[in-house]
């Protein structure tokens, strides 16, 4: 026990006095959390929070213009600017980049819609023999609502906006059509227009994946980036740990340690314990950054749920995987240059594959498949299950088991390699 204590004490003293190492372990992930959370805030934000600038030229004074305008306002997606004008003003304003979207509702659109519907109803009634077969046929010009997108607007977003507008227009068409039919059939011109029931027979409602819907969270920039870069920072301990092992080997301390009483596994256990302790401190500090610093930068607050014990268990397993990886690299590589080059590049690759930079769900299928082999992904998915979905131990057990298996495999590799080398 004294040897284990001595090793932990020695490792912690060395770590604390390594200013550059401390900066990498603590400041780098903190900086990454802040920078990436700020950069990715907009793409992550729900459209509801986006405040997309929209220019609305509503030249119609009737129901159609009002319905569309109300729909746009109620959606809370847009920051709407209303002006009077024509197509050329609409195009000019959007092409200058001042607005993302421009919509023009032409003059008398509502009257035109009503007239078209009246004509349609009369036509249908005539076909059914319910109206005067000699009623006059009028020709109306086509009713068009003009929409202009900025060239940079994403295709998926264009489709979504067009779909919503079409839906509003169709709903109004049907509503007006039914009103007209109703009035004509009842021959009661004074019947209220709201006598026709609303056409929302099918309701689509969103349900939460967790039991307490008010606590339901969506993946936002903070919820993604804080655990992601915390894990990345924890894995960067690989560089310090591998460097420490290689330095001991190069300066003869390893030889001296092996001639001292006690097994080498005690020394390795001491190293793992010290670095694991640092990993846990790192994790705690980074979560605090997410909870208390990021809101001051205009970002949402990190929500970690209520199960602190579960978070500690995830941090512990992540730390074990990171230290295990560090010991493997420190054992297999001969120089600090080799270990730091391989260590940092491999962590960046594992991070990219593991969804640290961007969430895995936006990646192609093949990458999503490969992601499942990254320890950083296992850790991230465990954190997110607890943060976002309020997962229980059974939900994250597969991820934890993989992290622990990775750690144990690392120890097996190191043990086997050392035996082979000292044969």
């Amino acid at each position: 026990m004294l040897r284990l204590y001595a090793t932990i004490q020695k490792e912690l003293l060395i770590l604390v006095r390594d200013k550059a190492g401390i900066a990498i372990l603590f400041l780098m992930p903190m900086a990454m959390i802040i920078i990436m959370a700020l950069i990715q805030d907009a793409p992550f934000r729900d459209y509801q929070e986006l405040n997309i600038p929209l220019l609305l030229i509503n030249n119609d004074k009737g129901d159609l213009g009002k319905t569309i305008e109300k729909g746009l306002t109620d959606s809370k997606i847009f920051r709407i600017t209303k002006i009077q004008g024509d197509d050329s003003i609409l195009k000019q304003s959007v092409s200058k980049g001042k607005y993302e979207i421009g919509i023009l509702i032409p003059q008398y659109s509502s009257q035109l819609l009503n007239a078209k519907i009246k004509q349609f109803v009369a036509q249908k009634l005539k076909e059914a023999g319910l109206a005067d077969p000699f009623s006059p046929q009028m020709l109306f010009k086509e009713l068009q609502i003009h929409i202009v997108f900025a060239p940079t607007t994403k295709k998926s977003f264009r489709s979504s906006i067009l779909g919503s507008l079409n839906q509003s227009a169709t709903q109004l068409e049907i509503q007006t059509l039914l009103n007209d039919f109703s009035k004509t059939i009842n021959k009661d011109q004074s019947a209220p227009t709201d006598s026709v029931p609303s056409m929302d027979f099918i309701k689509i409602s969103e349900i939460s994946t967790i039991e307490t819907p008010k606590e339901a969270l969506q993946l936002n920039s903070v919820q993604h980036n804080v655990p992601a870069w915390t894990i990345f920072g924890m894995f960067f301990i690989v560089l310090s740990l591998a460097g420490s092992i290689i330095k001991e080997r190069q300066d003869g301390s390893y030889t001296r340690l092996r001639t001292m009483p006690g097994s080498y596994s005690t020394i390795i256990t001491g190293k793992i314990s010290a670095y694991l302790f640092v990993c846990l401190i790192q994790c705690g500090l980074m979560l605090l950054v997410g909870m208390y610093l990021l809101p001051h930068l205009g970002l949402p607050q990190l929500v970690i749920g209520h199960n602190l014990l579960l978070i500690a268990v995830i941090a512990l397993c992540t730390g074990l995987a990171a230290t295990g990886y560090g010991i493997v690299i420190g054992t297999l590589f001969n120089t600090q240059q080799q270990s730091s080059a391989f260590g940092s590049v491999s962590i960046v690759i594992l991070a990219a594959l593991g969804g640290i930079w961007v969430p895995v769900y936006v990646m192609p299928h093949i990458i999503r498949f490969i992601a499942d082999f990254s320890p950083l992904y296992w850790a991230l998915s465990a954190f997110q299950k607890v943060f976002l979905g309020q997962g229980t131990i059974s939900d994250i057990l597969p991820s934890l088991a993989k992290l622990i298996a990775f750690f144990l495999l690392s120890l097996v590799i190191v043990n086997y390699y050392n035996k082979l080398k000292n044969r």
Binding site: L2, I14, Q250, S253, P261, G262, N422
Partner: protein
């Protein structure tokens, strides 16, 4: 009964995997208790391999080995308490203080409390480093580091001390301090096994030497007697006479 020999080596061999010839080849050697034994040889002669086997760092391919009557295969842990090692490299943590380095090593030998403090204080005095006990080792001169490296190897009061070029790269004063202290340790009963390329130092320090080349002992005895027998002026000439002038890698 205390064995007469600190180290007994009987037909010891070590052949590394993939090597054509063994690094140590059927080598037999007894080292008396209380001697200062110099193991000399050119680069690649097999000195480090032999010392590594004596310290239990690598396993022999063949032969038998006894350290203070104990065999490494069975009693490695017991042997570890009885030996000390001073590697050629400065095997110290440079971002720790001298005191912290010795405290760590002391803890590894199971030393603690006042016993450890007293031992550290004693070692600091021997190394002439007491005023620098709480300074980081990275601020030390080469000589100071060497002296600390030496006392780190004797913190556990070893019965056998293995030294691999303990005075390489240090000034004359530090070298003198180190050799004087080795003589003092030897007087106190510590057997010293010493390797060096400094022939003059070996000649002055050692009571017994063995010249090793190609994994076998090519000469053995008291340095002065060997110099006389071979009619050479000093140990360096004897070394060159027996190992040749061909460059070694």
């Amino acid at each position: 009964m205390t064995p007469d020999y600190a180290i007994k080596i009987d037909h010891l061999s070590k052949k590394y995997k993939g090597a054509v010839i063994p690094a140590v080849n059927e080598l037999s050697l007894n080292i008396s208790r209380g001697s200062i034994f110099g193991l000399l040889g050119p680069n690649g002669a097999g000195k480090t391999t032999l010392i590594s086997m004596l310290c239990g760092l690598i396993k022999p391919s063949g032969g038998r080995l006894s350290i203070l009557g104990l065999t490494p295969e069975k009693d490695l842990e017991k042997i570890k308490y009885k030996i000390g090692i001073v590697p050629q490299e400065i095997a110290l943590y440079t971002t720790l203080t001298a005191y912290e380095n010795l405290r760590f090593i002391g803890h590894m030998y199971g030393l603690k409390s006042d016993r450890l403090k007293n031992k550290i204080s004693e070692c600091m005095e021997i190394a002439g480093l007491q005023p620098f006990a709480f300074k980081l080792v990275q601020t030390f001169s080469g000589g100071m580091k060497r002296r600390l490296n030496l006392v780190a190897g004797i913190l556990n009061d070893p019965e056998i001390l293995f030294l691999d070029e303990p005075t390489v790269g240090v000034d004359v004063q530090s070298r003198n301090a180190i050799t004087e202290h080795l003589k003092l340790l030897n007087k106190q009963g510590c057997t010293i096994v010493y390797t060096s390329h400094l022939m003059e130092e070996a000649q002055n320090l050692c009571t017994d030497i063995a010249l090793i080349d190609n994994g076998v002992i090519i000469a053995r005895g008291n340095p002065d007697e060997m110099i006389n027998e071979n009619e050479t002026a000093n140990l360096e000439q004897l070394f060159l006479k027996l190992t040749g002038k061909k460059l070694r890698d």
